[in-house]
């Protein structure tokens, strides 16, 4: 086992940047802060790549199996000899893969922001928040202890709150950040309870130990957690489902997805960071981290599968109707995360049947590149057009050729057209689904076609359709710092699929042989291409077909464009059910019983003092008399009565 101690610096550098910029940025560092943040993240990225090289290619394997290595560990809070909160850095295939993804995408976002956020008043603060966000995500990735995960999980929540609400003088941004925070916080409550359930029955917070105890059917802990139950469901299922609720909140799974589209109020690079590599994949990562436990509990795995598949489908349908380009991308993220979730859900632990796990991680990996590419591309477009709405765009391909090509690559990748990255990972997912659950496979296939459709709808609406309405702006396509990340990411989106991912990241650490089945791939690819063609017919040139289709779809279209009334439903539940039926009675109790008791105490005190204030007459001799009376009474009490 070799030395991985340098790995601590990967999360610590962004933290240092955060502290430095947060404390001194606005006054002293100012415009240099972007360079500083990007520079420190560059070092982190290089370190992550070094770690990946060392782990995957040199010494990670032992007898053909990738080992779990604990880079460092110290006990922070010890509750009992078994249960302690440790701060540790754990190295295994998924954490190393995530390190690379997070640092790389974050670096791209940092560089892109140099141009995008230029001239912002709170430029340094922005970079400080980015640093905090990256730090929390990296810490989350490296956590080897459930409670450590939870701490960084909350840090991610806080920093996303800060970033989404970056334009704090814009009411919609404030509302969006609040919504994101409250919804994920609500889900985190489930996560916390889940952690406590698992820790209570597993008698440990350490993930490795927990997995060992809860997966071996002989262990006492396993017997304890499976026999204990609540409402007819075993505690294992409860614990895992609650943990999954936490993950679903962060990963924007139905029905906790409502914060995600609104989170688009943040600066676009922030959306890229949140959506591609950090916050939303945290839920997937969490499930993957605890996957061995999930795999022994069929019920919670079913939950993961169906929630994932339903979210994927729902988001894809909504995405077809949105006109805000960032919202389309947001729903596509939700849909892709749903893909990753159900891929995990259909998987089993180990061997060939662990294909879904591998596919999910693979899709996470490739998705990070093409989704950040798409978001940054959209950012570049918004930078030029100064609008989020498709209607204000069109014909931009001549104005911004680099962005155009990069965006096209991103769209092809997400649509699963070979040989782009998305093709490989999506095929694996479809294959895994096909082998385990035909219904899910059908949903996945349909969703894949929808994905191609709405992505190309987006693409054609932005870059083709009508003639460019926005004639040359003074700043053109954007600075080099904006184009450069697009190019890099586009290259990644092309080549990432060729990485032999199955050799590196599998559920049990053993390399998995995958083979491309041309016959199997033909159907989804053909469907995707058909969907692309359909989109090109409808949106390549401005015409009235979309309106006709929309009107024939009628109610469905309207419902989808209104996001299936999810927000309204939430508002109805909170405003019409929770507030008047639960909130108001509790408020009444608080106002009249809790406060009332206090007020009553206060008024009684006041009345008694009114009665006895006469004692405070200002007459010294009366005081002397009282004093003597007290002394005499005490003397009598102690000498004669209370002997």
């Amino acid at each position: 086992m070799s030395n991985y101690s340098y790995i601590v610096w990967i999360p610590l550098l962004p933290l240092l940047t955060f502290l430095l910029l947060g404390l001194f940025g606005r006054r002293y560092v100012k415009n240099f802060s972007g360079i500083l943040g990007s520079g420190s993240l560059l070092v982190s990225t290089v370190l992550s790549l070094l770690a990946a090289r060392q782990y995957f290619l040199q010494d990670g394997q032992l007898n053909g199996v990738y080992q779990k290595i604990i880079a460092f560990k110290f006990t922070w809070l010890e509750f009992s000899p078994n249960v302690s909160i440790d701060i540790s850095a754990i190295i295994d295939p998924i954490s190393v893969m995530m390190l690379v993804v997070v640092t790389f995408v974050s670096l791209m976002v940092h560089v892109f922001s140099l141009g995008y956020m230029k001239g912002e008043e709170r430029f340094a603060t922005y970079y400080a928040y980015l640093g905090l966000f990256t730090f929390s995500m990296l810490g989350l990735v490296l956590s080897g202890n459930l409670f450590q995960i939870y701490m960084f999980w909350e840090l991610v929540g806080v920093s996303s709150f800060l970033l989404i609400g970056y334009y704090y003088n814009k009411p919609s941004a404030v509302a969006a950040s609040k919504k994101a925070f409250i919804v994920t916080r609500f889900a985190d409550l489930g996560f916390l309870i889940g952690i406590l359930v698992l820790a209570f029955y597993g008698q440990t917070l350490d993930i490795t130990t927990l997995i060992e105890r809860l997966t071996s059917t002989q262990s006492a802990e396993f017997a304890g957690i499976t026999t204990a139950g609540f409402l007819g469901v075993s505690m294992l299922t409860w614990g895992l489902s609650l943990v999954f609720i936490g993950g679903a909140g962060k990963s924007a799974m139905f029905p906790l997805h409502i914060w995600l589209p609104d989170a688009m109020e943040g600066p676009t690079p922030v959306s890229a960071l949140i959506h591609a590599a950090t916050m939303v994949v945290a839920g997937v990562y969490l499930v993957a981290r605890l996957f061995p436990i999930f795999s022994v509990d069929g019920v919670s795995l079913q939950l993961v599968t169906y929630v994932g598949a339903f979210s994927a489908l729902l988001a894809a349908i909504i995405a077809c109707t949105q006109t805000d380009i960032k919202r389309v991308l947001a729903y596509s993220t939700m849909s892709q995360i749903g893909y990753m979730m159900f891929a995990l859900g259909v998987s089993k632990q180990g061997g060939e049947s662990g294909l879904g796990y591998m596919a999910s991680m693979f899709h996470l990996f490739t998705h990070a590149f093409f989704k950040s590419l798409l978001f940054l591309g959209a950012g570049a477009v918004i930078h030029l057009v100064h609008s989020n709405d498709m209607k204000d765009m069109g014909g931009l391909r001549k104005l911004m050729p680099v962005t155009h090509i990069a965006f096209l690559v991103g769209c092809l990748a997400i649509s699963g057209v070979p040989p782009f990255a998305g093709f490989f990972s999506k095929e694996e997912i479809l294959l895994a689904a096909f082998h385990s659950n035909k219904l899910i496979f059908g949903v996945a296939l349909f969703t894949a076609a929808l994905t191609s459709f709405y992505m190309f709808r987006l693409y054609f609406s932005i870059f083709w359709n009508k003639e460019a309405a926005h004639h040359p702006h003074d700043h053109g396509e954007g600075t080099f710092s904006m184009k450069f990340p697009l190019v890099i990411l586009a290259i990644c989106a092309v080549v990432a699929g060729f990485i032999p991912f199955a050799h590196f990241v599998t559920s049990d650490g053993v390399a998995l042989e995958t083979h491309m089945d041309l016959g199997f791939s033909a159907v989804p690819v053909a469907l995707s291409i058909l969907a692309i063609l359909l989109a090109s017919v409808m949106y390549r040139v401005a015409n009235d077909k979309p309106e006709k289709v929309a009107s024939t779809m009628g109610g469905l279209y309207k419902a989808a464009s209104r996001k299936f009334y999810m927000d309204e439903l939430y508002l109805f539940i909170t405003k019409k059910i929770i507030f008047p039926l639960i909130g108001q009675p509790i408020a009444w109790i608080d106002k009249n019983i809790v406060d009332g008791l206090m007020n009553w105490l206060a008024s009684v005190t006041a009345r008694i003092s009114e009665l006895i204030k006469g004692l405070q007459s200002g007459k010294v001799q009366n005081y002397a008399l009282y004093f003597f009376g007290g002394v005499a009474a005490l003397a009598v009490l102690f000498i004669y009565i209370w002997k």
Binding site: Q621, N622, L625, F628, G629, A632, A635, V636, I639
Partner: protein, 198 residues
């Protein structure tokens, strides 16, 4: 009854009688004089107790100092011939009750308690013994309290001067009391104003 005992009871009666007169007489100057007699009686009691030094201190400090001080202050604040206001009846009733009760309580305790009297050993207080122990720095020496008390006396001297000092800014000695104080401040204010203007 021995002579010493008779003398003791005489002295006691004198002390208590003059004490009662001191707290009941309506004329304040007479009250001070009765107090003086009572204190002299206490000095006599010290003589009887064979502590001549304390008796001397009692006469010098109390009779020669405190009572004179009290008489001075009476001259400063009262018309000494005038009768004082009657005590509040309710309070004198309660006071008398309290006194009777306290007296009964303490008497019963004293009567019950057996004191281990050490009469066989001689009791001689020589002034040099007091002086030696007062300034001794060894165990049972009183040098530290002595110094502390000297500081206390200094502090009280300064304190008396500060408390009783007249405000120099009062130009009109007749305008005293709360209203006078307000006027004083006002005068002070205007004087600083004029200073500024000047």
């Amino acid at each position: 009854m021995e002579a010493a005992a008779i003398i003791f009871y005489l002295i006691s009666a004198f002390i208590l009688g003059t004490g009662i007169l001191a707290v009941t007489t309506r004329k304040i100057f007479r009250s001070a004089i009765w107090l003086l007699f009572s204190l002299v009686g206490i000095a006599a009691m010290y003589f009887w107790l064979q502590v001549e030094f304390i008796a001397a201190v009692q006469i010098i400090v109390y009779v020669g100092g405190i009572v004179v001080l009290i008489i001075f202050s009476i001259f400063l604040t009262q018309q000494s011939g005038k009768e004082m206001a009657k005590p509040v009846t309710r309070r004198s009733l309660f006071g008398a009750l309290a006194v009777v009760f306290g007296l009964a309580l303490i008497y019963s305790i004293i009567a019950q308690y057996g004191f281990a009297e050490q009469a066989t050993r001689p009791f001689g207080v020589t002034v040099d013994a007091i002086g030696t122990q007062m300034l001794s720095t060894t165990d049972h020496g009183f040098i530290l309290p002595f110094e502390v008390v000297s500081m206390l006396l200094l502090a009280s001297m300064i304190g008396c001067i500060v408390i009783a000092m007249k405000n120099r800014n009062t130009n009109d000695p007749e305008q005293q009391g709360p209203a006078g104080a307000k006027l004083m401040i006002h005068a002070d204010f205007t004087s600083t104003q004029t200073d500024k203007e000047a």
